[in-house]
Amino acid sequence: MIDPKVLDCFAPLHVQTDHQGLITHIGPALKRLLGDQTVLGQPILSLVKIDRPHQISHYLDLEALHGARLHISMPLLADFTLTGVFAKGQSGDVLNLSFGPELVQAVDQLSLSAQDFAATDLALELLYLIEANSAITSFSNALMGRIQEARKKAEDLAQKDPLTGLHNRRSFDARLARALDNDHSFALLHIDLDYFKQVNDTLGHQAGDYVLCHVADTLTRFSRTDDCAARLGGDEFAVIYHNMPSPEQALQIYARILAKIRAPLKFEGQDCSISASAGLIFVTPQTDWRADDLIAAVDRALYAAKDHGRSALAMCDQGGANGIRLYSGQELAEFQT
């Protein structure tokens, strides 16, 4: 038999057997892992199960695998899998074990410490490397997050109106084009404020900005996250309502928006109430609009509403004919449910 002290030092996870395959000695780390379970004198094949290169039921078959890389599971260690190598010697045989790719799991599950490894074992360097790597990865993940954030901010800047936070004209155009490509019906609302110029001229820009933000808030509140509420410039707004089931539903929504916009509003104690005129168009997948024509049509409707008096809305006929249906502010109020 090989001097156990020598092998204990080089291979803390080894098993020595006699030529019949009965265990004569186990290394100190294995001993610690097995705890009270005594295996001395037992057949080695009751301690380890050879899974690869092929399963083995007789000790003679194990001897034939001298020097080969073995994949082993250990019934006494909750079927933990290990890598092993078996060597047949003159005075006895030795099976040496290592954790192989399961090293990290082994350290966790079997609570291994540095003493369980031979001084020359690279396992500790590997654990060190894994830990160093994860520290560096968390650094670069933080950096990636930062870059992502910066990109998002830049995108927002390019797409948002700085005063109101609504989409800007460029973003609106892109989304309208996308809505036209999509196979669903949507409503396009175009709004121009009434009395805004008076507020701006008499109470100043700050009051004007306050009013614009109030309108933007209202539009946002009455739209879903997928919808696109935009400030096209000055006191001109537009909203794309996706998947709108019917023109009546769009009218109902606008009636509620208008009620909010017309509600009395004060800025620093001064009245800055306003109203709005609107053009509305309902677009179904069957109609074949070009974005320019659509905008021109809803623009025409808006001006028809303006001509009709304050607080009115003009709805283009479905299908894009020139027909326009006008609703006064009073008529619109009836749509509120």
């Binding site: 350290v107 966790d108 609570s111 654990l127 060190y128 830990e131 520290a135 560096i136």
Partner: protein, 206 residues
């Protein structure tokens, strides 16, 4: 110099002197004050500019600050990752000291382009009053490394629960010698160290 070194300086000043002080230093050294941007932007001489700005703002000797940085890297809770990596060096303080010459190679395992000094350790004859007397020789040195090492090894002695006296006994341009007198290796209870981080089990299970 490596961006990670600038990052270490930023972390140190922020943790030990406050973010305001770091902002002053960053402004003076013309480097970004953002803790992550400092990793992204690199120009030659940045590290020396930061060190100079630290000297100006904190009014301390450069060697004192670098020693303090070494202590910070090994002992501050923000640097627990680093402390753990250092503890992989050895199971006890003597093992750790004898593994110090491997440190540059270990660092390069994780960060291949990190400039590191060449380290040698030699055992000296010891009087009966101490358990060991060693000299750590730090050569072909990036300036200042020896001071960082001094603070770092001193903090690691605490970590291992060892009572040791450390001094820089020789310093010239590219050759520094740190004397390490180990009075008692098992002086106090060492801080805990397991091969796997306590909270890494959950991550491994995912």
């Amino acid at each position: 110099m490596h961006a990670l070194i600038n990052k270490a300086l930023q972390s140190y000043i922020t943790a030990c002197h406050g973010f305001d002080v770091w902002q002053t230093v960053a402004l003076r050294a013309r480097v970004p004050s953002d803790p992550l941007d400092i990793m992204l932007q690199m120009r030659p001489g940045q590290t020396l500019d930061i060190l100079q700005a630290m000297t100006d703002v904190l009014g301390q000797d450069r060697s004192v600050m670098l020693e303090d940085l070494g202590t910070f890297l090994a002992a501050h809770p923000d640097c627990e990752n680093l402390r753990r990596l250092l503890r992989f060096g050895g199971q006890n303080f003597m093992d750790f000291l004898l593994s110090l010459p491997d440190m540059p190679a270990r660092v390069r395992l994780a960060v291949p382009d990190m400039p590191m000094p060449r380290l040698r350790i030699s055992q000296k004859p010891r009087p009966v009053s101490m358990q060991a007397h060693l000299e750590l020789i730090c050569s072909t040195c990036v300036p200042g490394w020896a001071h960082v090492l001094l603070g770092l090894v001193r903090a690691m002695a605490d970590d291992y629960g060892a009572l040791a006296l450390l001094d820089l006994v020789h310093a010239d341009h590219d050759h520094h010698v740190i004397s390490i007198k180990v009075i008692e290796a098992g002086f106090a209870t060492p801080r805990q160290f397991h091969l796997r981080k306590p909270n890494s089990t959950a991550q491994a299970a995912q």
